[in-house]
Symmetry: C2
Subunit: 257 residues, 2 copies
């Protein structure tokens, strides 16, 4: 069965989308069948893969409200070695619509479960909030959460609120919810701040923190404007090497050859 | 009458809170009476000013749902030369509660209007989403919106969605809603990316873009861990000089001496 990991952190701009796209494409690079699920109304994962979100007719929105079967909405990109369930701006209206639906927190889980055997990895990219879309991401995370933490103070501070939310979901909708790992991002070795935050996070989350740290690398910020993951845009950059190492580390932890 | 500006951008991590705190404290430095209103459940503006969000009993949440009068919840900090209506994690529940209330988009406007004459500037810090809390921020923005844009591609890309939301609010709840200005943040002169994004933003928003650009400056990222605005933490840094210049530029545009 394919692993379903949700990438979540309500703090904005910590590298959720960058991690989904680049970890995903390197897992594909290593022969894994990968699906990226974009549940953020900003649709950044969609545009990072070169797709204009305003051209998406159905996508995650139609799938969540049950208007379209998921397999009809998935886009395949052999060049990037991954598939994508794209988001569109219509997804912004989904929060209000989902509120009135049965199983409003379970919708994503219900549509992903039947297709788990078609992929080795399903990565879900969440918006920077703890609303109903992120709740769907938490409940769908069969194999756990990947939590990117930018090596800065406000991102560190937000982890308490995230942990509280995770515990609330565990005691209600999804008792098996777990943290698969914490990823330190935008690490800038020249500053004490990054080192201090990294050691605080390792102190709090211990062996859950991946060995691989993602350095601050301008190429990672440039790649989205070309609509490519770093593995295609600039495979020799420090950012690419880090995400490649992260993919290897995750596969090793999952006993995947 | 005091000016009410809301600082908004649904893209995460673009410098909304950093702008609210530091622009606010320099406006205070120049003798203006300043109130910061934190409507983000992350309560980052609150913690950047040295207040533990978990100790806040009432704050913005109680004021929005009408449980407490606003003046009883405002904290004053003479050292930072500003006042704060603090947020607390309880605010995360406000979105669901507000949905069932009358005037759910107008609540913040209704509580701020009566106290406008007590301040020269009221700055509202929004969460990274376009939900009901941000909607309250948009409707409360009597003198317009301040839009921080990080000089990176994904932040640029999100401006289309923000403009659409602004136009939707203009045609329904608040016809006088306007953009007061766009602030370029985390500008790193050594990269083409920043220069390209800056020129795209100036091309799209023209004279609405403030002359003052905020450079990427590690001191701005360190200040929150000390609970101080940059004006107190490191007034000699490039980040401090930039926010000081921004405060001057805004006052000049507002014909404030
Ligand atoms: N390691 C890195 N080095 C340099 N820039 C990075 C890195 N990771 C991400 N970025 C850039 O930082 C910005 C924020 O990253 P990203 O959009 O992936 O974060 P996010 O958590 O998905 O944001 P949001 O909360 O808005 O969804 C983007 O412009 C991205 O290109
Ligand atoms: N000019 C700057 N130079 C360096 N770091 C900065 C700058 N502005 C903000 N930062 C840092 O970048 C991170 C994001 O900034 P901030 O939290 O203010 O953005 P935000 O838009 O309020 O985020 P959110 O969307 O989560 O509310 C923080 O760690 C902050 O300290
Ligand atoms: Mg994102
Ligand atoms: Mg903020």
């Amino acid at each position: 069965l394919g692993k379903i990991y949700t990438i979540v952190n309500q703090k904005g701009g910590v590298g959720k989308t960058t991690t989904a796209i680049n970890l995903g494409s390197y897992l594909g690079f290593y022969g894994q069948r990968v699906l990226i699920v974009d549940i953020d109304p900003q649709a950044n994962a969609t545009s990072c893969l070169g797709i204009d979100k305003n051209t998406i007719q159905g996508g995650t929105y139609d799938v969540l409200i049950g208007a379209q079967p998921i397999l009809t909405q998935i886009l395949h990109n052999p060049r990037f070695k991954l598939s994508l369930l794209p988001a569109s701006p219509a997804l912004a209206g989904a929060e209000i619509e989902l509120i009135e639906m049965e199983n409003r927190g379970n919708r994503l889980h219900q549509v992903l479960d039947p297709i788990r055997n078609r992929y080795d990895y399903i990565l879900v990219d969440c918006p920077p909030s703890l609303g109903l879309l992120t709740l769907n991401g938490l409940v769908a995370a069969q194999d756990g959460l990947l939590i990117p933490v930018q090596c800065e103070y406000l991102a560190l501070e937000g982890l308490g609120q995230l942990t509280q939310t995770i515990n609330r979901v565990k005691s209600s909708l999804f008792p098996n919810l777990s943290i698969r790992g914490v990823i330190l991002t935008m690490y800038d070795g020249r500053t004490n701040l990054a080192a201090d935050v990294a050691s605080e996070v390792r102190g709090a989350f211990d062996s859950l923190v991946f060995e691989t740290m993602i350095p601050r690398s301008i190429r990672l910020a440039e790649a989205p404007s070309y609509g490519m993951p770093i593995s295609v845009f600039e495979p020799g950059s420090s950012g690419a090497r880090a995400y490649r190492a992260l993919a290897k580390e995750l596969m090793a932890k999952d006993n995947v050859q």
